[in-house]
């Protein structure tokens, strides 16, 4: 049984202009010890997908799925209290904005201890010890003295480490990190990513990494799911997707990254012309077809999902072709 099995997840948001199809028929699985990177640009639905798993969607958003199971527990039928018991205990989430994701009114120690004491019958001293231990584990020096500090007294990198430690307090089976490095300096980004990877291996958790940074994916992920306009366009093991990117959108994304040794100085990087389609109202066919240079009439019809190899699937009518080198 996979740790996480999402089958046909759909998220709709009613707006004044009509129904916004934010996420459309997304399916994936995740095993313990695996790292799944969900990749896509802003508005592709990748963050909403991760929030849907935690049942933290904005109240207007409507979540539907054929099934969504976490370690056998049906997340679609779980009640509010059941979800609260799962959250922070067995599934934890690390957010994008370390500057604003901690409560300014309480100390780091208080917020860390709270995460443990909500789910475990432990005393203050034990919660404090666990907090110090995890702060040290995430690479914070003088951990004990940090407990009495307030979030505004810490740098962005430190706050993100605190967030990670907070997510680990109950030793969850699944950690969802929503763009955990976006708001940080480049040097700190690498440190945080490696930390996440190491912790994921050490604790044997499932890790979902939501990101728009393909460099991040290549470094830490085992599986990748490429999202475009609320749909999953290509998914598979990192080696397969990066080695033989098959969906035109994935190919476009990879062309947009400079490759050391291959991209000559001054050579223009690949771009994808056009814009993400408006997701309000019904949308038939491939969402990428208005930006795809190989689009045909067949793209306006329903798009079949095709198996390209073990675990490697894409939603495109075209035959997979090799990326022009």
């Amino acid at each position: 049984m996979p740790l996480l099995d999402v089958d046909n997840l759909t998220i709709e948001i009613p707006t004044e202009a009509g129904l916004l199809h934010a996420v459309n028929g997304v399916s994936f699985t995740l095993e313990r010890g695996e790292t799944l990177a969900i990749v896509g640009e802003s508005g592709s639905g990748k963050s909403l997908t991760s929030l849907a798993l935690m049942d933290l969607l904005p109240s207007r958003a409507v979540r539907k799925a054929r099934s969504m199971r976490f370690d056998g527990i049906d997340l679609m039928t779980a009640g509010r209290r059941e979800m609260e018991d799962l959250r922070g205990d067995r599934m934890a989430m690390i957010f994008q904005e370390p500057m604003t994701s901690l409560n300014p009114a309480y100390t780091v120690g208080d917020q860390l201890a709270e995460a443990l004491r909500r789910h475990r019958p432990v005393g203050r001293a034990a919660a404090r010890d666990r907090a110090v231990h995890l702060l040290e584990r995430v690479g914070i020096t003088a951990a004990a003295s940090r407990l009495g500090q307030y979030p505004h007294q810490l740098s962005g990198g430190l706050r993100q480490r605190v967030m990670i430690a907070m997510g680990l307090m109950c030793e969850p089976d699944l950690i969802i990190a929503d763009e955990p490095t976006t708001a940080l300096d480049v040097t700190i980004q690498a440190q945080i990513l490696l930390l996440l990877r190491d912790i994921q291996r050490e604790f044997g958790m499932g890790l979902i990494l939501v990101t728009h940074d393909l460099g991040v994916v290549a470094r830490v992920a085992t599986k990748v799911a490429v999202m475009y306009a609320g749909r999953l366009v290509e998914t598979g093991p990192v080696e397969a997707v990066f080695g033989a990117p098959s969906h035109p959108y994935t190919q476009g994304l990879l062309r947009a990254i400079p490759v050391p040794g291959r991209t000559r100085p001054g050579e223009p990087l690949g771009t994808i012309p056009g814009q993400v389609p408006n997701l309000i109202g019904p949308l038939a066919g491939c969402a990428f077809r208005n930006r795809c240079d190989r689009a045909t009439d067949a793209c306006a019809a329903a798009i079949p999902e095709r198996d390209l190899g073990p675990g490697h699937r894409m939603a495109c009518v075209l035959d997979p072709v090799a990326v022009p080198a």
């Binding site: 018991d85 959250r87 957010f95 300014p104 009114a105 709270e114 909500r118 505004h152």
Partner: protein, 305 residues
């Protein structure tokens, strides 16, 4: 922190001094005090004698200096009308108005903060709309009418509470409701808006992601951040209540500062009016200072400044 306190103290003192000068000048520009004091029947000689007796013949600067020299020793002179020292006169009245104001503010906060928080959490529901309607209604009701209605319903018809006076704590219930009523809509709306902002913030999402129960999220994580602006408003409202309790004191026959101020102004009892103005100004400054301290405790980020 010490430098901060000293700076605040210096500002406070200069504000008090400025208020005293302005009040002094305004009172002396409002007409010839000696003529008023001597009475309409007095002869020019009598007026002249009164002028000398009360020191009103001296230059304004000298009069002000004289008053200030007394004031710093808490000697505010003698009342022209009550034939009593201003200090003891105020001493009798202050506790009544402070008690009334404190209970009124307490009641207002006790009602307004939970209502505002709940309205924000249940945004758009019938509860929220009802609370907002209640706000509009609350502000539209005049204090004297509310006071009289309360007396008719609870004192005259139901006989649950006394009509007027200040003998026991139960005498303060109706006046406090009448006085606190006015503060409820402003505090409630500010709490509601603050909660709406805070509930949409990232750290509330974090709190929910930890699996915290809704009451912990709302009361521990959200409300504490949402009430920071409410504290400053409450301090100002308390100042208004102390200075503006005059209508309520009149309706319920409470012999407080408001009544005293009203009588003193009507009788041109200059030392009393000046002392009351000074007292209210000082209370205002103290309240804003307390509000700053309370906010520094609520929001650690303010402590740096």
């Amino acid at each position: 922190m010490l430098a901060f306190l000293l700076r605040r103290l210096a500002v406070a003192l200069s504000v008090v001094l400025t208020v005293s000068v302005i009040a002094f000048l305004l009172l002396h520009l409002s007409g010839d005090l000696a003529t008023d004091l001597a009475g309409p029947e007095a002869s020019p000689e009598q007026v002249a004698r009164v002028r000398v007796e009360y020191g009103l013949d001296q230059p304004l600067v000298v009069q002000y200096g004289h008053w200030l020299a007394g004031a710093v020793q808490f000697d505010f002179g003698r009342s022209f009308y009550f034939r009593e020292s201003v200090a003891s006169l105020l001493g009798d009245r202050i506790p009544i108005t402070l008690k009334l104001g404190a209970i009124a503010l307490g009641l207002a906060l006790l009602v307004a903060i939970p209502l505002g928080a709940l309205a924000a959490v249940k945004r758009g529901s019938w509860f929220d709309r009802g609370a907002l309607a209640f706000c509009a209604l609350g502000q539209a009701v005049p204090t004297f009418w509310l006071g009289l209605s309360l007396i008719i319903v609870f004192a005259v018809n139901l006989r649950w509470l006394p009509v007027s006076g200040n003998a026991t704590w139960s005498h303060y219930v109706l006046p406090s409701v009448a006085l606190g009523w006015y503060a409820i809509p402003a505090v409630m709306r500010l709490t509601r808006n603050g909660m709406l902002d805070v509930m949409a913030s990232d750290y509330i999402r974090t709190a929910r992601a930890k699996g915290l129960r809704p009451h912990t999220v709302i009361f521990k994580h959200a409300l504490r951040n949402a009430v920071v602006p409410v504290v400053a408003l409450a301090a100002v409202q308390f100042g208004f209540m102390l200075g503006g309790s005059i209508v309520v004191e009149a309706v319920f026959s409470l012999q407080g500062l408001g009544q005293l101020a009203w009588e003193a102004i009507a009788r041109k009892d200059f030392p009393v009016v000046q002392a009351i103005v000074m007292l209210l100004a000082t209370i205002y400054i103290l309240l804003t200072f307390l509000a700053d301290l309370l906010n520094a405790w609520l929001d650690p980020r303010i402590r740096v400044a």
